[in-house]
C-alpha cells in the first residue's frame, strides 16, 4: 500500500471514529430527552452521525482491502485502536453538558466539511458534501439550546458555564496536525485543521457571549485521542456499544 493510501486509510478511520463515538453518545439520550420532540431530535442527529460513520468505515474497509467490513471497524477494535477526539467520548453529562459539547463539535464540522469537500479524494469529498446539509440543522439546534440555557435561569446558566469550563481543555486537540494529516493536507486530500482554529474560536466565542457565558482562558489542554490514548470513558462506552456484536460474532439477521 502506498504511503498516501495508508495515510488516507488512517485519516478515514479517524473521521469514522469521531462520527461513531459522538453518534453513540448522542444516542444515549434517546428516551431520556426533556420532552418528546427533543428526544426525537436527538435520535435524528445521532442517526446522521452514525450514518456518516458508516460511510467513512465502508470507505476505510475498501481502502484496507483485507476482508474487513464497516462492522469490523466499529465493533472489533479496542479503545487503544480508536483514534477519535477526546471531546467526543466524554460521557453525556447533563443536558447542558451535551448541548455545549454538541455546539463545539457542530461549529467544528461547519468549518471542516466545506474544506473536505475540496478534497482530491472523490469519496471523502462526497461524504463531506452529504454531511454539510445536515450539519446546518445540527448547528442551529445546538446554538439555540446554548443560547436558551446560558441566557436562561440562574441554574441553567450555572450548569452551562460549568460545561463550557469542563470541556474547553479538550477542544485544542481538534486543531492538531500530525505527520499523517500534514502529508494528506499537502497532497490536497485532507484538511489542515490548524487553520480552522481562529475561525472556530471566533464563532464559538460569539455564541457563548450572546448566551451571557464567559469564554474560558486557555489554561489547560488534554490530548491523545489521535494516538489512541483515551480517557477512561471510551472503554466503558465501547463495552456497551460492542457487546451485542461481540457476543454473536458473524451473526446475520
Amino acid at each position: 500500500m502506498s504511503d498516501i493510501k495508508a495515510a488516507t486509510l488512517e485519516y478515514t478511520t479517524r473521521l469514522g471514529d469521531d462520527s461513531v463515538v459522538l453518534g453513540h453518545r448522542i444516542s444515549e439520550w434517546v428516551s431520556y430527552g426533556p420532552f418528546l420532540e427533543e428526544d426525537i431530535a436527538y435520535g435524528n442527529v445521532a442517526l446522521d452521525y452514525i450514518g456518516r460513520a458508516r460511510m467513512f468505515y465502508t470507505y476505510a474497509a475498501e481502502l484496507a482491502n483485507d476482508g474487513r467490513t464497516e462492522d469490523d471497524f466499529a465493533y472489533m477494535r479496542n479503545d487503544r485502536e480508536y483514534r477519535n477526539l477526546l471531546l467526543l467520548e466524554m460521557p453525556r453529562g447533563d443536558f447542558a453538558y451535551s448541548q455545549v459539547r454538541q455546539l463545539l463539535a457542530d461549529v467544528y464540522y461547519t468549518l471542516l466539511l466545506p474544506e473536505l469537500v475540496q478534497s482530491k479524494d472523490a469519496t471523502l469529498s462526497a461524504i463531506a458534501a452529504k454531511s454539510i446539509k445536515e450539519t446546518k440543522y445540527h448547528l442551529r439546534r445546538s446554538r439555540d439550546w446554548v443560547l436558551r440555557l446560558g441566557d436562561g435561569t440562574e441554574e441553567s446558566h450555572k450548569r452551562t458555564q460549568k460545561a463550557v469550563d469542563q470541556l474547553w481543555g479538550y477542544t485544542h486537540e481538534m486543531f492538531d496536525m500530525d505527520e499523517t494529516e500534514q502529508m494528506l493536507a499537502d497532497n490536497g486530500i485532507g484538511v489542515d485543521v490548524s487553520k480552522l482554529h481562529d475561525a472556530w474560536r471566533q464563532m464559538v466565542s460569539d455564541i457563548l457571549t450572546e448566551a451571557t457565558l464567559t469564554v474560558p482562558e486557555d489554561s489547560w489542554a488534554v490530548r491523545g485521542g489521535r494516538t489512541g490514548y483515551h480517557t477512561e470513558n471510551l472503554g466503558h462506552m465501547l463495552t456497551e456499544m460492542q457487546f451485542v456484536h461481540r457476543s454473536h460474532p458473524g451473526c446475520k439477521w
Partner: protein, 179 residues
C-alpha cells in the same frame, strides 16, 4: 389556472435521462418499489433512483441515500433486487452512490402531489428562512391548506421531515424538509 407547473432544472434532467434510457422498461418496472417509510413515494418520485444500466445479462442499479443515516436504504436495496429478480432478471447489482448528494429538488411533481394527499407537506409548501433552513412557521397545512401553522420540531419522525401543527384545524403534520 390555479397551478403553473414550474419544473426545476434537476427534474427536467432526470426526465430526460429516463426517456432517453435504453432500458425504459426497467425504469417503469422499478416504479413499483416504494419508500418503506413513505409508501406513496416510489424511489423514482423521491429521486433516490439515479441510474439503471444493462451490461450483457447484468443489471446495475444506482441509488443514493436521502440522509446519511437513512435506515430505509438497506430495505430499498433489497426491494430493488427482489423486484428485478421477480421479473426474471437474475443478475442484479445495486450500487450506492454518494455523489452528487441527494437534493429534495429531485422529487417528482407527481410525488409532491401524492405526498400532500398523504398528509405530508412537500418541500415547496414552506418558504425557507434566511439561513435556507426550515422556517418556524407558515408551512402549508396539507389537511386544510392554511398557512397559519407553526413548527413544533425541526426533527420529525424520520430524518427527512420536520414536525408542524396547524393553528386553524389543529392537526399536526409532517413537513418534508428542503435540502
Amino acid at each position: 389556472m390555479n397551478e403553473i407547473s414550474l419544473m426545476p432544472e434537476e427534474q427536467y434532467q432526470r426526465l430526460q435521462q429516463r426517456s432517453a434510457a435504453d432500458v425504459k422498461e426497467l425504469w417503469d418496472l422499478l416504479d413499483m418499489v416504494k419508500d418503506p417509510e413513505v409508501p406513496v413515494l416510489s424511489i423514482w418520485d423521491l429521486g433516490i433512483l439515479r441510474d439503471i444500466e444493462r451490461i450483457g445479462g447484468q443489471i446495475i442499479v444506482t441509488i443514493t441515500p436521502t440522509y446519511s443515516g437513512c435506515p430505509a436504504m438497506d430495505n430499498i436495496r433489497t426491494d430493488v433486487a427482489t423486484a428485478l429478480n421477480d421479473a426474471g432478471y437474475a443478475d442484479v447489482t445495486v450500487n450506492m452512490s454518494l455523489s452528487p448528494a441527494w437534493s429534495s429538488e429531485w422529487m417528482s411533481l407527481e410525488g409532491r402531489k401524492n405526498l400532500r394527499n398523504y398528509g405530508i407537506a412537500p418541500p415547496e409548501d414552506a418558504d425557507l428562512d434566511e439561513d435556507g433552513l426550515t422556517p418556524d412557521a407558515h408551512a402549508q397545512c396539507p389537511h386544510c391548506s392554511s398557512r397559519n401553522t407553526r413548527r413544533i420540531s425541526e426533527f420529525g419522525s424520520t430524518a427527512c421531515k420536520a414536525l408542524f401543527q396547524c393553528n386553524d384545524c389543529n392537526e399536526p403534520f409532517d413537513y418534508f424538509k428542503k435540502i
